[in-house]
């Protein structure tokens, strides 16, 4: 397969690509941000100027080649530019999750040996000031928004604008420094270092080179035919690999415009205003959009409800075939066309997805109903199997060959093989260089010839599509010897809109049990319609009606599981609804919202024991951590409920 960098003619780093974009499409939009209610646009030429000024500013406050600079904040054009600026002077940008608590930040700053930090606002500066005493190497903090910082007079603080002023002065004295510095960079240099959230242990710093990013971006652009007329909304954390590919690498390579939302609460409004043509969202976002729409439909006039139901049935029947360009009868085409005018197009417009020609989802499994819903509306939503260590793409569903249960075929240039023990391994242009200062983990994960262990168990189906079963290390055995795949069962539970998170237990046990987190919005709305009063999450989670509701979901899952002879033993015998939501601030989830199993089982040991006993109530106390680091305890009596299970491959109901 063609490898990107070669075809880009020596444009092997982001700063070089930026200068090229400024040259060939200088007048086209590159970045957008909504400021004071109005979308502001910067062209590629503008961005090149901003990056140049900031890069030279960094140079004049002391950034040298090889220095690490942490970048932290919401998605802001200025922070993206800062990353390129750091690269332009030979530094290594390390984006950090903006919602990390001070201690997590401390670990990353210390491990990455960060000398400089570029952050968004007072909130981030305050977090750094708290830990700065323990970070002897950190010498300067640059902040973008001066609001609230009038009286911060520490001399290691500089505003973004001031650094740019210094940069412009430096430019006058050294007019050819910038070009020289950019040209010193080559494709094999470290592009960025991303700390993986890690479901076990401390985060690891994944080193990715410019070639990793650019080649991967280019291969995907070729596959999906992305151009500089595409539009994307950058709203997922900058510290996440996906954002680095979608909002930086692919934008630089193909020249499309990246828009940043006004703030994290306005994403859905901004989505509608921007109308991106290329979009990535984890399944939970697609679920949220759908849930919001369904709630509104419930409140609509009956004729509208009828119209919605009728045409959604039509879409369900023929929409997928139309999207996949398969033959469909003339009447159905006509009906679908009418539906498009009356329902689908207005609906997509409300979602902000009217102009979408490519949407990806991944990270965790998406519910088949949700997936099919979007596709039947004509939105080309596809699943990818991705990893930080692969610079995102391992497998991608191909146009016209989308099977909801699979993750698709290997991405261009990527080789995937299945080990004897079922583990998925991959090799390709995006394979990471190493883990920073962690030789041992690097060797454990990556073989000498570049194959990477994913830790996931999977297999290729008859069409050559990859199916992922579960994390290999999570797959366990019940005492009767049957396989127990926790993620698989949890995903089935999470497909219900009422269930936000689920954790199942069963390894080395007689049967399977589950912790459930309800979805406050969805269940809350349901409770309102049923006139059930509640004061908050803990109260709602304990309501007997809610238990009944969740029990129905659990039993539905049991029915599904009973049909599969391999998994019929994995039916859920008992469950409880947790009294608090699992939260990344309490260490229970990673920053990308994956459950940390070991921490959850440690923390809620009592509850797990209660699940496997015959108790019906278990008193608990839980410590919650607020974002500013303070803690509080929640006390509650958690009710444990039984669920009906079925005997394998028959519909007879086994008594519990």
């Amino acid at each position: 397969m063609a490898v990107g960098a070669a075809s880009l003619g020596g444009l092997d780093t982001f700063p070089k690509l930026l200068l090229e974009n400024a040259r060939i499409r200088g007048g086209r939009p590159a970045s957008r941000e909504k400021d004071l209610g109005i979308w502001q646009t910067w062209t590629w030429a503008d961005v090149a100027g901003e990056v140049r000024a900031f890069a030279l500013g960094l140079k004049s406050i002391g950034v040298e080649r090889g220095d690490t600079v942490c970048v932290c904040g919401d998605n802001r054009p200025h922070l993206y530019w800062a990353m390129t600026a750091v690269q332009a002077v030979g530094g290594i940008p390390v984006p950090v999750y903006q919602d990390s608590v001070a201690d997590e930040m401390h670990y990353i700053y210390e491990h990455a040996e960060a000398k400089y930090a570029v952050v968004e606002n007072q909130e981030q500066v305050d977090k750094l000031l708290e830990i700065k005493g323990r970070l002897p190497k950190l010498s300067k903090i640059v902040y973008r928004y001066p609001r609230g910082m009038l009286h911060y007079d520490q001399d290691f603080l500089d505003s973004y604008a001031d650094v740019q002023v210094l940069g412009r002065q430096y430019d006058q004295q050294h007019p050819d420094f910038f070009e020289k510095s950019v040209n010193q960079g080559i494709g094999t240099d470290t592009c960025t270092m991303l700390y993986t959230s890690g479901t076990t242990g401390r985060p690891k710093g994944v080193i990715l080179s410019f070639s990793n990013m650019i080649d991967t971006a280019q291969n995907n652009i070729d596959l999906e035919k992305l151009t500089d007329h595409d539009e994307i909304l950058a709203y997922l954390p900058m510290a996440w690999i996906g954002d680095n590919i979608f909002s930086i690498a692919q934008s630089y390579v193909s020249g499309y415009c990246v828009s940043c939302p006004e703030n994290s609460d306005t994403v859905l409004d901004d989505l509608r205003e921007i109308g991106p043509s290329y979009f990535f969202a984890p399944p939970r976002i697609f679920e949220n959009i759908l849930t919001t729409a369904m709630i509104r439909i419930e409140d609509a006039a009956s004729i509208k409800q009828w119209m919605f139901r009728y045409f959604m049935d039509v879409a369900k029947r023929v929409g997928l075939d139309i999207l996949d360009r398969k033959p469909v009868s003339f009447t159905d085409r006509l009906l679908y066309g009418l539906g498009n005018i009356l329902v689908y197009a207005p609906l997509k417009n409300v979602f902000g997805l009217s102009k979408i020609h490519l949407a990806y989802t991944g990270g965790v499994a998406i519910g088949p109903d949700i997936f099919i819903f979007y596709r039947s509306l004509g939105i080309n939503l596809k699943q990818i199997y991705a990893s930080t260590e692969a610079s995102v793409f391992i497998t991608i569903q191909r146009d016209g060959e989308v099977n909801p249960d699979t993750s698709g075929k290997p991405a261009i240039g990527v080789d995937v093989r299945i080990e004897d023990d079922g583990e998925v391994m991959f090799n390709g242009p995006g394979v990471f260089q190493s883990y920073f200062k962690n030789e041992e983990a690097t060797h454990k994960t990556k073989t000498d010839d570049g194959w990477v262990h994913t830790g996931d168990a999977g297999y290729f189906d008859e069409n050559g599509d990859l199916r992922i079963i579960d994390r290999s290390k999570d797959v366990g055995k019940l005492t009767d010897g049957a396989m127990f795949a926790p993620n698989f069962i949890e995903n089935k539970l999470k497909f219900f809109p009422h269930i936000k998170e689920a954790v199942t237990f069963g390894d080395q046990r007689d049967h399977v049990t589950a912790f459930i987190n309800i979805d406050l919005e969805s269940v809350g709305n349901w409770a309102e319609r049923k006139n059930i009063a509640y004061s908050g999450y803990t109260d709602l989670a304990g309501q007997p009606e809610v238990y009944k509701l969740i029990k129905e979901c659990v039993e539905q899952v049991n029915r599904d599981l009973a049909e599969d002879s391999n998994l019929s033993s994995s039916q859920i015998h008992r469950f409880l609804i947790l009294h608090k939501e699992l939260d990344a601030d309490d260490g229970e989830l990673t920053r990308t919202r994956k459950v940390r199993r070991n921490i959850v089982s440690e923390k809620y040991g009592e509850l797990i024991e209660a699940l496997f006993s015959d108790k019906t109530v278990c008193p608990v106390e839980a410590v919650v951590t607020f974002e500013d680091g303070r803690t509080d305890t929640i006390k509650a009596d958690v009710v444990i409920s039984d669920a009906k299970t079925l005997s394998p491959a028959s519909s007879a109901i086994a008594a519990e």
């Binding site: 004071l36 209610g37 109005i38 609001r147 609230g148 009038l150 009286h151 006004e262 703030n263 609460d265 306005t266 409004d269």
Partner: protein, 263 residues
């Protein structure tokens, strides 16, 4: 962090104010002053006369006795519209927003006094009226940014939760760019987190814009944390006036709030 604010001269002086409704004496010979740039609190139990005092300051009630000096101008009675034109803005204990209008429009009404064009020009949205609207919109957007309410810009305020409505009301008062901001129980009915947010906004307003703030509050702990000086009222009488620590130690205040606890 050290206090960098400058407390200036007396901005508002209240002298010997008495107000009665029929036989009920709501305020009895109250005197205190407010200095430029400070956060001044008026506290007291229910029915102490706190809101009546604010209503006198912005001219809604006319006290029978006493006089009020604002920015060096003394008068016996303030007029509401003059008070507003002179730079006094306020919020209300029971939210007084236009429920059917969006957050943006509600805050825009705070600019009303500063609009010079007549309503025909405004309706035509032409030339100078258009320019004017844009200038005012900019101020309003600054307020929206300051209070971090971008996500509800276009939501009708009637649909917002109580804590956010309070914030919108503060926004409307701020849009008038006041010299003196009167806040009537800005934190009443809020949960702990909302209270903390509100405190932060009040302190930020005071700090960044140098706005002088008079606030009424029920919650003693909040008041003591954020105000520079505190006036305590009880049954229309003044019990104490001083910095929070003094007031906290004052036996009359303790008695008024907790009842006479000593046996």
């Amino acid at each position: 962090m050290a206090d960098h604010r400058k407390i200036g001269d007396v901005l508002l002086n209240v002298e010997g104010i008495s107000l009665s409704f029929g036989g009920v004496k709501a305020l009895n010979n109250i005197s205190f002053d407010v200095r430029e740039g400070e956060v001044r609190a008026i506290i007291g139990p229910n029915g102490a006369g706190k809101s009546s005092m604010l209503n006198c300051i912005n001219g809604f009630y006319h006290p029978q006795e006493g006089q009020i000096t604002f920015k060096g101008e003394t008068r016996k009675q303030m007029q509401t519209h003059k008070a507003a034109a002179q730079g006094i803005a306020r919020t209300f204990q029971n939210i007084a927003l236009f429920k059917g209008m969006s957050t943006l429009d509600n805050i825009m009404t705070g600019r009303n006094l500063k609009m010079k064009q007549n309503f025909i020009m405004q309706a035509l949205y032409f030339g100078p009226a258009r320019r004017e609207e844009m200038e005012h919109r900019k101020v309003v957007e600054d307020v929206i940014d300051f209070l971090e309410i971008e996500s509800i810009r276009k939501t009708p305020v009637g649909r917002l939760p109580y804590g956010l409505q309070k914030r919108v009301e503060l926004g409307r008062a701020l849009a008038a760019e006041p010299d003196l901001l009167l806040l009537d129980e800005p934190m009443a009915g809020m949960n702990h987190e909302e209270k903390e947010d509100m405190c932060r906004y009040i302190l930020d307003v005071n700090d960044q814009f140098g706005t002088t703030i008079v606030l009424i509050e029920h919650d003693m702990s909040v008041v003591m944390d954020i105000s520079d000086r505190v006036v305590v009222l009880d049954y229309g009488k003044m019990l104490a006036d001083g910095v929070p620590d003094e007031v906290r130690a004052n036996q009359d205040v303790i008695d008024a709030y907790l009842g006479v606890t000593h046996e």
